[in-house]
Subunit: 516 residues, 2 copies
């Protein structure tokens, strides 16, 4: 199925796209508006609190919002175990992406674990603050932020986050005492979501950080460590430039700078990696200042599911010559501590991710696919076709409209007894073909785009009367503008790797680099 | 000083205004946009949490937002006791309004006590939900709402709020036991803000309601009682029409209907009463759907002060032949219980309010004026002239630019030692002349208009994909549309008084009625 939205915009772009494939901010704005406006804007009339609109559904943001109302009667719901066959790698054989490195899933996981946050105790609910607020770094609440901040506020320490040096490398502090109990000072943090017992020797590698998922893998910890170092570097520079500022002001201004800096990377490295078009998206927040989609953020039940990109994970990671199975990277920072930050980024950036979609999930992660299918059901999500229509795409009339892979078609026909309208949201989403030149399938791409742009660019720090030198200092504002990719942050830490080599895009990908 | 904004719009209106003085919805939209756009839109960069922008200042809504940043250094701050002379009635002589009845302050107090809500324990903070949500009726929190809802959910009681009948009249339940202790079932409510000890016989007249200020006067209780009766009437009708609905759905849908119904009255009766123009404002929420000012609500430190309309209260109320001093109406529902709801509305609607502004506050209320001046200082508000400029008005160059009353000019000159830029926000606001044909002075009128329209019409129940029959039922949607004034609600309770006689505008006012 063609992704006509992008085709249209490419037509609009016309001669404006230069030989290198990059166009300007104006084109980016046209594209963002066209994408986001393919569906209804917020406020969403419904949430998971009830199947009808109520004051609670419109205001209680501990529930997830909905793009579509709850299904009145479920269609066919195959046994979740039987759905494994749709996601599992046939005969255990993985398929690699031809575009993405492992830095792509590493970043996606870190971003979404901070922002989407299904409540593990009630999957209709969310613990999200509904903003990209770097809560894995700073905590979800003011109380957690205070726990994570350096207690020593004397000159030379103002505005810093707690950290430790191991050799010359700065990391977050360890969360556990050697006996495996949480250090008393960190008891108020969201503790890591540990599903299965892990040995104390592994537990004690975990960091004291803002998020219950920020220790999920050494790649998540790598992202968080880079941002912690940059926060502390920025705080040091702000303190040096503003000697009259107290600890509080240095901290708050450093955080002011870090959040838009992260959003810049989200748009200019991550989204440009995803994008199938040669349009260069720029994180110019002014597109949101007059947009009709600038309405309060609210993470949806659909967004909470469509970002389960388990299939991106290859079976093993080559960790400087040693293959580590994916299952052994869970809640384990030892690999990161062993090699250090720059080497970890290099590991992520040089090897291919797996290809996103059906028939390509590592066996260890299959239970998570089942959980996602069940979460869609318990939240009464409508079927796959209803969402295609809601996001401006034509209904799939036949199973071959969903996928060109006969294996996937056969499995879907079998699961849904030949009723294409019964195909559920989550299985349908991941069964589609990838969009050409894009790591994502079509409906997923569109839904990611809508929620990403309409929620990232409406961040209060990017708003019309806030996004200026007064908020960030002139130095900080320029720093935000000068940041385009993770490699820029790493370079500021003195890393030797070239910023562009810290890439989500495989060097073999012929189309283009990450953002210029 | 002329209020050129209104003059401009009147020019725009041109021949469209018919002989009766009413114009159409399109004109109302032009006017609303023109008014709201006289100043910066939200998000506000600052709040009372700090004097600079921070993530906390942008997200922690327990603090008050700011239209202007904190003053860097205060100007002259006269002894608050000396400011009494600016507000006190000279020789105790009150001046009456020639436009407003006492229903105007009664409604203003009920509206603002539900929405603005300075935290009495920390005057930099607020307990507002930042929406017009009828929290005096429903409570500020879900837990309070549950306390206020009828426990008996059997047929004939679904979706109701707890109430009691005294004779044939329905009132909220009493809050206290005969011994003056709170009834156990109501302990979870915000208790009335009782500043001074009051006798048990008076305490036991207070109602179990959603707001700590909803028992402030019998007029506030009258407003709340009317809305409680209408909620229960609407719930009864919804139950009759939708027999399959459970208690929860009847309640939630009744609340869905009540909030926009209240906002209709805010705009179409209350704001039209205030408005000096013959433009008939209509509560058409579609003006907000495409507006650049449709951004998340956040009550400001300035809004929390400008609505202290103590001077509107006359010294005594003629309560069916008995004069009751204002001081004796505080936290006392006996006068309401004595005469009943219809009579109380009649009492409010037939006698003039006092005139708003300097030199006209009842002695008993002077401590509240002092408190307001101090609250502006502790929240570091900028001076009066800074706000004139921020809201598109010219600076006052001289004291006679502020007021045409030589008594007020002399007092201000004395208080601020001839430095007009030192005049503080709160004293300046109330020292101005009333706008012709309007109960409010010019800067106050403009600030009320900006925050009223930009926060009322952005209510989530009025939003583009929510304001429809699905949310309210077809019957409920029509009921909202058919509601224009408090008299409409009273008529539905079987009151004999003509709806238009329940008026905020004195019959002697030659200009026009309330909304048609």
């Amino acid at each position: 199925m063609s992704n006509s939205l992008f085709d249209e915009v490419l037509k609009l772009a016309g001669g404006a796209i230069d030989a290198c494939g990059w166009a300007d901010s104006a084109l980016s704005k046209v594209m963002v508006n066209k994408l986001v406006e393919c569906t209804r804007n917020r406020p969403h009339p419904w949430s998971t609190t009830s199947d009808y609109t109520s004051w609670k559904s419109l205001t209680d943001r501990t529930y997830q919002a909905r793009h579509l109302p709850a299904a009145e009667a479920p269609g066919r719901q195959p046994d979740p175990d039987k759905i494994d066959v749709l996601f599992a790698r046939p005969n255990g054989t993985q398929t690699f992406s031809n575009k993405s490195t492992c830095l792509f899933p590493a970043f996606a996981q870190y971003l979404t674990d901070g922002f989407i946050r299904t409540d593990p105790n009630n999957r209709a609910k969310t613990t999200s603050n509904h903003e990209i607020d770097l809560c894995p770094l700073y905590g979800r609440t003011e109380a957690q932020t205070l726990i994570l901040r350096e207690n020593d506020n004397s000159q030379g320490s103002r505005g810093r986050l707690k950290s430790q040096f191991i050799g010359s490398e700065e990391f977050p502090c360890f969360l556990y005492l050697p006996n495996g109990t949480v250090k008393p000072e960190f008891v108020g943090l969201d503790q890591p979501l540990v599903g299965i017992p892990i040995p104390v020797s592994q537990l004690t590698t975990l960091f004291a950080v803002g998020g219950d998922r920020a220790n999920s893998t050494p790649f998540s910890s790598m992202m968080n460590t880079l941002l912690l170092r940059e926060h502390n570097r920025v705080a040091g520079e702000l303190e040096r430039q503003n000697q009259s500022w107290d600890d509080e002001r240095v901290f708050q201004t450093a955080r002011n700078i870090m959040i838009p800096m992260f959003i810049k990377i989200v748009v200019e490295q991550y989204i440009n990696h995803i994008s199938p078009t040669p349009v260069n998206f720029v994180a110019d927040p002014s597109v949101a200042w007059t947009a009709n989609w600038n309405r309060p953020n609210w993470v949806t039940a659909e967004f909470s599911l469509l970002y389960r990109w388990h299939s991106l994970m290859p079976d093993v990671i080559d960790w400087q010559g040693t293959d580590i199975a994916i299952a052994n990277l869970g809640l384990n920072n030892k690999p990161l501590l062993d090699v250090g930050l720059e080497a970890a980024f290099t590991i992520a950036a040089v090897q291919p991710a797996a290809k996103l979609g059906a028939l390509n999930t590592n066996a260890a992660l299959l239970p998570l696919e089942r959980l996602a299918v069940l979460q869609a059901r318990s939240n009464h999500l409508r079927g796959y076709n209803a969402y295609r229509v809601q996001f401006g795409l034509p209904r799939a009339e036949t199973f071959t409209d969903i996928s060109s892979d006969p294996r996937i078609v056969t499995i879907l026909q079998d699961l849904y007894e030949n009723k294409v309208d019964d195909v559920e949201f989550y299985p349908g989403l991941f069964s589609e073909d990838r969009v050409p030149k894009c790591p994502l399938p079509g409906l997923l791409l569109r839904m990611v785009g809508v929620d990403a742009f309409s929620q990232a660019l409406t961040n209060p720090l990017l708003s019309e009367h806030v996004y200026n030198e007064k908020t960030f200092t002139a130095w900080g504002f320029q720093l935000i503008k000068d940041t385009r990719c993770l490699g820029d942050l790493l370079a500021r830490q003195g890393a030797k790797i070239h910023p562009k080599a810290v890439t989500m895009t495989l060097p073999s990908w012929s189309y283009c680099w990450d953002a210029p």
